[in-house]
Symmetry: C2
Subunit: 152 residues, 2 copies
């Protein structure tokens, strides 16, 4: 057991922490690990957010429990990517503005979190009209940030 844990953790505490700030260094052994991690969290977020789209468009019946489950995954994923945009992790589809205009990037995260809080609350009500409104606000929040900070 101990040996297995040692083998597993070697991979997690590997080289090159100097390129990253202290907290990020503990989380990511290499800059490319940070890029892969943030892209992965955003991929999962996008997938579950996208599953709600046909529902709010009226193309699929509204299954409140299903939407709530997807929203919960979106909410969790929305907390994760930002710690992986530390200094030395440039690239991976992110525009240089992430680092050169970091205050604005952080404002975008705060806006997203506020909008997602409202989507969580809307999904809790089980009222499709409320979900639709809150969904649109999150979608606009995603788009604003992508326009400013993501390469096409």
């Amino acid at each position: 057991m101990k040996r297995l844990l040692r083998v597993l953790s070697v991979a997690c505490i590997a080289a090159a922490p100097m390129l990253l700030p202290a907290t990020a260094a503990a989380q990511f052994a290499k800059p490319e690990d940070a890029v892969k991690y943030r892209q992965s969290a955003l991929t999962v977020m996008s997938s579950h957010f996208g599953r709600i789209a046909p529902v709010v468009r009226g193309q699929q019946p509204y299954d409140a429990a299903q939407v709530k489950a997807d929203v919960a995954i979106v909410a969790m994923m929305s907390k994760l990517p930002w710690s992986a945009f530390g200094p030395g992790t440039e690239g991976g589809g992110a525009k240089p503005a992430v680092w050169s205009d970091n205050a604005r990037f952080k404002q975008g995260q705060e806006r997203l979190h506020g909008d997602i809080d409202k989507l969580v609350a809307a999904a809790d009500t089980g009222d499709l009209a409320q979900v639709r409104t809150a969904y649109g606000a999150v979608a606009a929040s995603c788009k604003a940030c992508h326009d400013n900070f993501r390469n096409r």
Copy 2:
């Protein structure tokens, strides 16, 4: 933090019903989307599981709330990848045995879920010794499945 944990627990309880194979086709427009999705969920799971490794090895102090948060992310992610291994999504590092010996692959998922349930319970106790034991069981479960179903 309370809000995050609440969101996490709701999702963990609610995520299971949507992972039926019948819905898989509707979730992914293309096979490569399924591959990217499952790899992303596994990447996020692996990252947060790995963050606990130095704690159970005694190389980092035990922050019970942090471990609980990481375990909650591991638990949520552990529900997601399997619906994305449907027919026609071969490849992406997965061995053909995922499809040719699918019953065994599903047994591996069940074992993982059982072991992660125990890790969640252990993290709730705030007792590092219990976390260490449960962590080792999950690590062994990961390894067994990787040995059989993932290309190196």
